[in-house]
């Protein structure tokens, strides 16, 4: 019996609550956020506790835990989930002059419920040897029959594809986008599988000529320690689509303070730190993401790709249209 009680106590392990701490539910992987948080703890003395996981599961946990949730900050890797969390009434507005100064208004919630911390653009990569940049123009053109059996893209279950289609829905309307999606599916060289790096490798070996990927995957391969990854990445080139029109599709990683937070002050300060120059530089150097503020330099690889015009669509629209986008892709047969 005594053992049972002891066991119960270890299991329950009622955590003492310190004044100076921030608890984070993060959809960003540990390796891509923890070093930054450690730096913050070192500077400020504030303890930062972390649970990583899938965004939707973390949001569900936050929702079910209700007012007693220990989480102070929700970190996601796309805007759709932040929007969903706000819709579920899980986030609190943050009033911070520093955040509004650091982060341009298109990259935060109109009422400051969430803030972008880094930008991730979805681009076209093409086989250097067989395709020339002049053959490429827009996302829309990927559905052109000249690319039949030549395009690779990952599953439509992936959020980056979902938000791209959501953005296109805003710009082009449902009928046009559905036609486009059908055309794209007809152009696929193989049924969607794997992640973005897989699509790059498929282009490198000639399984397809073009692929849709996020920039930091390509940068990650180029700076990889594994030779095969670098070789594959060197066989492809990057193309910024829609530069003569609305601009390339951009999603964000971002964060919001939770409604139930017991440490709102600390959470705000951490958010401010994450939008500060030091943290922004870290994102750029270590995961090759684009900083949200223009005064922070990007990594060398990113510099080599030059400047680009980004779609300035209000990001919250992406979250609103996500379910419609998935339905559309289901109908188009995009697996």
């Amino acid at each position: 019996m005594r053992i049972c009680l002891l066991l119960l106590f270890t299991l329950l392990g009622a955590e003492a609550s310190f004044a100076a701490e921030v608890n984070i539910y993060s959809a960003r992987k540990e390796a891509l956020i923890k070093p930054l948080l450690d730096k913050y703890t070192e500077q400020s003395g504030v303890e930062v506790n972390l649970i990583t996981g899938k965004a939707d599961a973390l949001i569900k946990r936050l929702e079910l835990e209700g007012v007693n949730s220990p989480a102070d900050l929700l970190l996601t890797t796309d805007v759709g989930r932040l929007h969903r969390a706000r819709q579920l009434n899980l986030l609190a507005a943050v009033d911070s002059a520093e955040l509004t100064k650091n982060i341009p208004s298109i990259y935060r919630d109109p009422e400051n419920y969430w803030f972008a911390l880094s930008l991730r653009s979805r681009v076209i990569v093409y086989a250097k040897e067989t395709v020339s940049a002049e053959d490429l123009s827009t996302y829309e053109a990927l559905a052109d029959p000249v690319w039949k059996k030549k395009v690779c893209v990952r599953s439509s279950s992936n959020i980056y594809n979902q938000s791209l289609v959501s953005a296109m829905l805003v710009h082009l309307g449902e009928a046009k986008v559905e036609g486009w999606a059908r055309g794209l599916v007809a152009n696929l060289a193989r049924s969607p599988k794997g992640g973005d790096r897989d699509q790059i490798k498929a282009v490198a070996i000639g399984q397809c000529k073009l692929a849709l990927v996020n920039t930091y995957y390509l940068a990650g391969m180029l700076s990889s320690k594994i030779e095969a990854e670098v070789n594959a990445a060197n066989k492809v080139a990057l193309f910024w689509p829609n530069q003569n029109g609305r601009g390339v599709h951009v999603n964000i990683s971002g964060a919001g303070v939770t409604r139930s937070s017991m440490h709102k002050e600390e959470a705000r300060k951490l958010l401010e730190y994450l939008s500060g120059a030091e943290a922004q530089l870290w994102y750029a150097e270590n995961n090759h993401e684009y900083p949200v503020r223009s005064d922070v330099p990007v990594s060398e690889i990113l510099r080599s790709w030059g400047d680009f015009k980004a779609d300035d669509l209000a990001l919250s629209r992406l979250g609103e249209l996500n379910a419609s986008a998935v339905r559309l892709m289901d109908r188009a047969g995009w697996k």
């Binding site: 540990e30 599961a57 835990e65 599953s155 279950s157 697996k335």
Partner: protein, 558 residues
């Protein structure tokens, strides 16, 4: 003699009057069934709009793919499991001893990891095909090569790591079969092959079915492998519906359908067995004399048995080693030991708890032997087929509700806040493991119990022993092998578990499986190799203990 005999069902030992077992059993299973019940009740929530969409677009391919996957994995796992089990029990051949435990090793390999390794090797961009292209000057498309990331590939991957369930239970069954019955079949003119198909295999049916049902449920619950291979199954559909369409209700309803399907299959199997019970009617065992081949034919069984071991363990393990050698210095940090400790801690806690519960529940069912207890056990056995994420939500719903109620009451009456007592702690996590893995230990314990003849219980009772004492003094000693098996199976399963751990774990608490997933999910397969290898190594030890105990467990064996 041992044989499948048709017996009347054991009469209830608790006819008519109230029995404390019933109360205990009801209470336990009521609590454990909450997550499953939560899922089932989602059926009554409105979600028709999403269903209409699913029905018109993707539902049929979810169902068809899941059925193909299920049939393929079961068939392949059955062959890979029963044949080596038979060979290692009945024949003597070079390497038999090593193979008889080595064949269990693939169990330590999580399905998503074997999928990553084979993709790394055999994919169009992988080293094998690249070398072929370089060697012959081919371009992609000039030659044919099987696509590993396909439904066929998924069947192969899952069968390679799941067949040990069939092998394990089958081997135990063959081991326990009395040689006499086989000698009778031989003396009646059946060759070794016919004896296998006509006598040994039907006798091992409960074991094969128990093994296959574990395989089946693992297959249905698998998300990592099929998602990576781009195969749309019912389970990937659940997550697409939840994450993509944003409908957690429709997702839970899909999970409820999955539950219904599993229940149906279990019922069908029980019905097809009808009243047959498989007790040993003889306790006479002679020493097993293993047949020996001569000449080159000696190596035929060796070669056959080496196949599943090679492809299910050796090849992927070597690939992991190669990757780990390139990257371990970056990946193995100070935290690595704590990852290992957390993994082992959770596995030990959950497997022990599952064992104790399984023994009580199965024994309770045996003592009561009424339809209510059978229903309860059946309800609890469905958890294994539910994807871990869904179970986790099913655990969060009641616990966070309870926590918030307690907190509200305490605030109102005592002016203190208790916060979250259960959810967000290891308690909730271990509870989720129990819901998911209890069927594994129950299955094993029940298979063991069913082989103990009811007359043993009667003897105990006639000697005036109370029910619990019979369990302790009669059944538990006879069940030692099964209990160990149950313990270790859950241990290894928890080591590999990912989705429930991901959602339910407390702050700053990581395991090897989580580290592996986070790296592999970023497509950093080489970096993921070190933690993956650590899972495999941690899983090997219990697997070896397990196989040694089986070898010793043969009745009449010295």
């Amino acid at each position: 003699m041992t044989s499948a005999t048709l017996e009347a069902p054991t009469p209830s030992l608790a006819t008519g009057n109230f029995h404390p077992w019933l109360l205990l059993l009801m209470l336990l299973s009521l609590v454990l069934a909450i997550p499953v019940v939560c899922i089932v009740f989602s059926v009554f929530l409105p979600g028709a709009d999403v269903w209409q969409h699913l029905y018109e677009t993707v539902l049929s391919s979810y169902v068809v793919n899941s059925l193909i996957l299920l049939a393929g994995v079961c068939a392949l796992a059955m062959v890979l499991g029963t044949v080596p089990a038979w060979l290692t029990t009945m024949y003597d051949f070079p390497g038999r001893k090593v193979l008889s435990w080595g064949l269990l090793l693939p169990m330590a390999m999580p399905a998503y990891i074997i999928a990553y390794t084979y993709t790394g090797m055999l994919d169009a961009a992988g080293p094998l095909q690249s070398q072929l292209r370089d060697l012959f000057g081919w371009q992609f498309g000039d030659y044919w090569f099987p696509e590993i990331r396909s439904i066929g590939g998924a069947i192969l991957m899952l069968a390679l790591v799941l067949y040990p369930y069939v092998y394990l239970l089958c081997r135990a069954a063959f081991n326990e079969q009395s040689i006499c019955v086989l000698e009778v079949s031989r003396s009646l003119g059946c060759g070794p092959c016919r004896s296998f198909f006509k006598v040994a295999l039907p006798l091992a049916r409960p074991a094969i079915i128990a093994g296959l049902s574990l395989v089946m449920m693992e297959t249905l619950a698998d998300y990592g492998t099929v998602q990576y291979f781009g195969v749309e199954t019912f389970t990937t559909g659940i997550f697409r519906t939840w994450f993509g369409l944003g409908s957690s209700v429709a997702a839970a309803q899909l999970a409820a359908v999955l539950l219904g399907f599993i229940t149906l299959v279990v019922l069908l199997e029980a019905w097809s067995r009808k009243q047959a019970r498989y007790h040993h009617t003889s306790t006479r065992y002679s020493k097993l004399r293993r047949t020996q081949f001569t000449g080159w034919r000696r190596f035929v069984p060796t070669l056959i048995c080496i196949v599943p071991l090679t492809f299910g363990f050796i090849v992927p393990a070597i690939q992991l080693l190669v990757w780990a050698k390139q990257t371990w210095s970056d990946v193995i940090d100070d935290e690595f030991l704590s990852l290992l400790a957390h993994s082992l801690e959770l596995a030990a806690l959950a497997s022990l708890a599952a064992l104790v519960l399984a023994v009580f529940i199965c024994y309770g069912k045996r003592v009561l032997s009424n339809s209510l207890s059978r229903f309860i056990v059946r309800l609890l056995s469905t958890g294994y087929a539910i994807p871990g994420t869904v179970i986790a939500v099913g655990v969060l719903i009641p616990f966070s509700w309870l926590d918030n109620r307690i907190d509200g009451w305490m605030r109102e009456n005592m002016d203190i806040s208790t916060g979250l007592l259960f959810s967000g702690t290891l308690f909730a996590l271990v509870f989720a493991y129990l819901v998911r893995f209890l069927p594994v230990s129950m299955n094993t314990v029940e298979a063991g119990l069913s082989k103990i003849r009811p007359t043993m219980d009667e003897v105990g009772r006639s000697m005036g022993l109370p029910t619990l004492a019979i369990l302790r003094r009669v059944h538990v000693p006879m069940l030692k092998g099964s209990l160990l098996t149950a313990l270790l199976l859950v241990f290894v399963d928890v080591l590999k578990e990912l989705p429930a751990t991901l959602i339910l774990r407390p702050f700053n608490f990581n395991t090897l499986a989580i580290r592996t997933y986070e790296l592999a999910n970023e497509e950093r397969l080489a970096d993921a190799a070190s933690p993956a290898l650590a899972i495999v190594l941690a899983g090997i030890i219990p697997v070896i203990i397990l196989s040694r105990s089986i070898a010793k467990s043969r009745p009449g064996h010295d």
